[in-house]
Amino acid sequence: MNELLTKQLARINLYALISRVMMKEVDEDFLKTLEKDEVILSFFPNYIQWEKPKELDRKTLKEQFLDVDFSNLFVLHMIPYESFYRRDDQMLETGGDNPVVQIYNRYDFRVQLDKARAVGPDHIGIELEFMYMLASSEYKAIEEGDFAAACEIARIERDFLRDHLLEWAPMFLQNIKAEAGTPFYYDAASLALEFLLNDYEYLNALVTDKGCGYENG
């Protein structure tokens, strides 16, 4: 059981991490956390090698490098929205017709676009945070022993990955890797890409017609 919860906690934390990085610019607190947490740092192998964090204070690093790269990647030159990647006309669907809004609504999640600073609900950061929310709910259900509910949530996670994130995010993340101007965002994109694929494999194995087999640990 503990192993199951640990596994689940790892998923929660990773979704939280990558959604945060993809949603908005890092702040100094985040950088502090990153530097102090070796586990998190281990997911950023190139960043560790980079000389800038060593030379500059956090504020300067953020303002002169990381924020610039973020703006370039998520605001100016890349389009971090599912609808852009999936619609034939490459238009953003910013309103209620966006398919992911209907999914969020179905499970009573309301996204605050102003807080996300996004023009549409299918922003990469929001979709990843949705996965984080689902994984957290799944964790609670497991903790409470409600395996049926947990399994149902796992099924939603798998479907959302299959039908949405994996339909476009790999392409987007590959582009980020190609365009990134700092090791930080290169590493973040690599992490997200691998993790999503890995997580889909995990969920696919977990969720079967007969249930999720949590009872078996």
Binding site: T6, R11, A16, T33, R110, A116
Partner: protein, 1096 residues
Amino acid sequence: MINEQRRTFLKGAAFTVAGATLATGVFESVVEASGAESAEFTNTPENLDFYPPLEEWDSFRELDGDDWKRGGIERNGVRSEENPDGILVHDYTIVPSVCSNCEAGCGLTAWVDKKTMTVRKYMGNPLHSGSRGRNCAKGYATESQMYDPDRIPFPIKRAPGSKRGEGKWIRTTWDEALQTIGKKINETLKRGDEISKKMIIYHVGRPNENGFSGRVPHTMGIDGYDSHTNICSAGAREGSIQWANDDRNSPDWANAKLIFLQSSHAADAGHYFQQSAGLIADARKRGAKMVVLDPRLSNSAGIADLWLPVWPGTETALYLYLANRILNEKDINGDDLVDHKFVKDWINWERLMANREYLKFMVTKGYISKMPKDESYESFIELIRELYSPYTKEFVVKECKLEGMEYKLDQLFEIFIDAGPRVATYMWRAGPIAHRGGWMITRAAFLPLALRGALAGDIGGVSWHHWHEVSVGGKGDKATVAGKRPDKVDVWNELAWPPEYPLSTYEMSMILPHLMMDDEWRNKWNARGLKIPDRLAVWIPRMYNPVWINPDGFRWIECLKDESRMELTFNLSPTWSETNWYCDYVLPVGLAGERHDQQSAPTKPEQWTAFRQPVLRVALEKMGWKPKVPYRGTLEAHMKAGLGEVWEENEFFAELLCLHADPDGSLGVRKHWESAKHPGQPVTIKEYYDAAFSLLPKLKKAAKAAYPKSEYPCYEFMRDRGAWTENTNIYRPQEKRLRFDGAYYYAHGHKYPAYDVEKDRFGVLWVEHDGRRKSIGIEIDGELYEGFHTPDKKLDLFCEWLIDWKWPEYALPIYPRSEREYDKMIHIVSHVHHRYMKKDNEFALNTVFRLPYNIHTRSVNSKHLMEISQNHNPVWIYTKDAERLGIKRGDAIKVRIVDTVSGLESGYFVAMAVPTEGTFPGVLACSHHAGRWKLKNAVEIPGFEHELGVMGVGAPLYEMTMDGRVGTLKPKEGIDEGIKSRPKSWQFKEFNKDLDNIWWSGLSGSWQNAVAPVHPDPVAGNHAWHQKVIIEKAGKDDQIGDIWVNYENNFKTYKAWRDELTRPLTSEDRERRPWWIKRPVVPLSKKAYEFRVKDL
């Protein structure tokens, strides 16, 4: 392509911080909505229609706009006692009306909150087939105009003992105003002589209605109507009248293959723009091309397939160049480009070929080299091939200053030819109103269209307005005791139609003060036998602001201040204005949702009409309220709903003319306004409009079916819908068959016995009517048609009557071809032609382009429109011109206006320069829609607790001086400062919580209209708006907004144009004007047209 080494994600569980700390947290948990009350609302509607179905308009519940974005009722539920944090539900009555901010007449719906009896928003009317539920910014701004903090709340009157313009006002009542004005009209009309019938003038700004305004002077039996048209669109109308005897053309934008525009009108700012722009967008989506001719890079030009900037006023040359190529070139198959079938059948070439005398005249003028060999069509084509052959590419490049843009002329020609007959255009303001000879621009513009068959009125082409319009607003006669239209009027008012301008398209209203103050002129004509009054007993502007919008504003002020010339004046006006300041009464009448009008506009090939209504009154009546006095319903409703003592023209004039101007009926006026159903009292709105709308047969049928038990079915039908389309798909209307059964001809709803009908050699059928010969139809190839509205029933390439009316050289579209001809044909050469620009700092000033969010004097009361229009009215100057003169962006420049006929200088205005590539070299642009002013921030009304603010959101405060010769205006305080100096608005607080946010000073425009001298075109009579200017950098004491005007010089300039350019009527003339062309709006008898003067 996952080539990274697999990592153990499991270690993610060992983060020192929890995921919740890392995650941004953009998702919010959900509070369940209270189910039952929310049942009628949903966050996921099946469709997103803006408008509920008509059945729900009387009572429609809608959630407040706040909070929608964050989840709507599913999070917060619906507001109730138990759920005070829920979302407010409005309970609306949706009442249709019509926008009144421009001439397009787009549908509106007012969403009247039943609890507060306020209009919470104005939207479009989906039942209006012209505007299709859409509006521009001006439509939605109606709400801010309605609840303008400075709207005039009750009738006010000049304080006794004060002079006009002193700004001392007292409160009065509608009753007092009716009695005083009624008495004055009664005393004037009672005299009954010719001169008294010229002493009352009703001066109408943009009417936005179809007929009621004309009915007012007509029922008084006077020739007393002045429109604003001669400062607006008279040049274009003159050209249309000469071609088709129709007021304006009417395109089928939606189906055109080429949208061919001169100026930004139609597509982004001008006449009918909101409706036209939608149709143009539809056409372009289907592949139509758009060409824009404009010296200015307008929004339209910016998105056009081809922008052709030509020197302003030389467009005639360009159109004749197109005609030349169409006539003299072949298509790729070697066939003619001329649509010979259309030209042969529907252009009046036979009359030209039959007029030997005129053909000889053409030879002597050098138009053609020799007489045609016969009168055949082929010889005609030969003739016009020669006539237009001088308008070559080389010629037009030089004339229009298109050096370097020769390739664009070829592109234009190709696009034009590719569109075939599907070329849609709308000749309106811009060139035709801007220049001396502007009317010839229109005349020439239609020539290439005619040659290509685009004037056939067919799908995607161009037809004429009156087939696409419905005018019944002046025809509610059946509801009155008279039961029929008044008789024709027997007098001719020289103050509107002076003998110098017999062909003037509309009234010479913009020179009213010049005529009034010109004793020499009046004495001369009176000595020759005319009877021109030396004063006006009553002058009534209606929603009109001539002091500000007309040229030479100081002359207007001089005249209005003179109580011996203007005895009683009152403005029926929803807002304060510069003109109101000099009137005796300001009587507040309603805005777009506060008055009744029937309005129709020719925006597409159909006939739609809309019904403007006082929406609060309609909502109240639907809730069971009834006025105490049935003929004062609108006034009472507005008082009841807290809008103020705001009335409307319809009820005001019915009561004034029935009960006060002619109380005993002895003047013959009363019967036209007295209710047939309730004798003794004025006709009511329901009675009048039921009678008027019942004149439309299809509407009447639909109304009777929808309201079978109603006493006023047509009124109620329009009250509930606000719009109706009587006919659609009106194409080739001139080909409507004229029936002949062997004994009678049936045409235009009349029956003519065959023995009364005479057919001339050109196939035209003539009858005698009112002592005149009138044509009723035409036979072409053995078929009878109703034809066009010209006397010869065809389109008049050859405008034969111009010969008799003293302008023979312009009977055909023509333009000077040499230096010598410039002087001889000066009447059709722009007064801002490049030949007049001699020095580096001399420019043509382009003044008349419209801004999409401002409309002359009608937007000053909307904070929303004023906000988006601030700092948008600089002087555009071409980059290189600015560089040469050392002028930088934001510099104040002094713009001196100089007349090219009199040589006199008018004075200057100071404005802000913005160098741009968007205007033609040598041509400045500054729209004359900005530069409003006031002389006081607020007015104290004795006995009334609040001050009345004056145009607080839209006009800065100025200081004025004038001494009879020179006038000046100097800015004193901006709008932002002015509004802060006053305590919070006392009116409509709920709607004006944001007045603190007013940031604009409004000091970016100048009152350039006042500097401009008035100089009417000698033929069309319209003011030619553009000016020759000399610019220099402003001095250190000059400020943007300053003006200095020598209006004594302006008077001399006006006289120079009149005396040097017009061809006035003489003792040999017997008629005032060609009787067959439009002479708006009061019908005059044959007697009125008679002209007899002696030589002195």
